[in-house]
Symmetry: C2
Subunit: 164 residues, 2 copies
């Protein structure tokens, strides 16, 4: 039995008490952009209920073209207005460099990825970088409430990253 | 008071009973790729606990270069081996076309996005497309357990998309 099979058993229990469907547009008008890290349960950490907010996640919680695509769809088609960015302490992205990661892939596969790995060396600097990329994008229309945080994996607390 | 402020109050309650830190590598060795939809609570729907699985999400739950980047980091640096893809019923991505969405942005901003909007017209076909993109990637090494599902927003159930 795979872990996927275990999760499907969990899903049967979840569905047995599920109340749906809710409306498509997020009820709270929020989009969250967070790291994929296993210890960052965005629902628990923010107290999100089903139907409230879009949740966008990737390695690092960084903003690349795909996050701009998702935020553009979120705001333009589904009415969200606030953006919450979340990085976290002890992040894997702090443990390597783009060059080394790409070189190791090239060595193993013969092909160097065409994308940046988006590694970073400072959490707060990268949160500000992610905010700056959203602010600079012509495709994300609503920028009045973009706030960035570092989630502490030891304490469960969100600490705000303030503008320099 | 913004919704972000409300969520920060929720976070204080979450942190008050939080037990951490857990180890960085996902304990269950799983990476989930899911749509950002507000009604798809991946933690509830799969019974995920903190520390178990990477969670990657975007508009549609599609696989673009950024999801390949995240999966490459997940498998190569943090040891995950199984991939679970989740699309869902009543998805916003079924309600527009790439061309129309990009034309509307161009009309408003004067700039046509350089990215595809990744809209789709059939859920199961797009789940298979996402699986095919992972299978085709030289950068994701472990492909023995890649399974795709459609989450039903009315019932809370995951229905598996089988290969054609």
């Amino acid at each position: 039995m795979t872990v996927t099979d275990e999760y499907l058993e969990n899903n049967a229990a979840y569905a047995s008490t599920f109340q749906g469907p809710l409306p498509l547009p997020p009820a709270k008008g929020v989009a969250v952009v967070a790291c994929m890290d296993a210890r960052l349960n965005v629902y628990g950490a923010l107290g999100l209920a089903e139907g409230e907010a879009h949740v966008i996640r990737n390695a690092g919680g960084v903003v690349t073209a795909d996050e701009i695509r998702s935020l553009a769809i979120s705001q333009r088609l589904l009415g969200t207005r606030e953006i919450i960015l979340i990085h976290h302490t002890d992040c894997g992205m702090l443990t390597f460099t783009d060059d080394d990661f790409k070189a190791s892939i090239q060595e193993e596969t013969g092909i160097k990825p065409e994308w940046s790995a988006e590694a970073f060396s400072d959490l707060e600097t990268d949160v500000r970088q992610s905010i700056a990329r959203i602010v600079a994008s012509p495709f994300v229309p609503h920028k009045d409430s973009i706030r960035g945080f570092v989630f502490d994996v030891a304490t469960g607390k969100l600490n705000e990253v303030l503008p320099r």
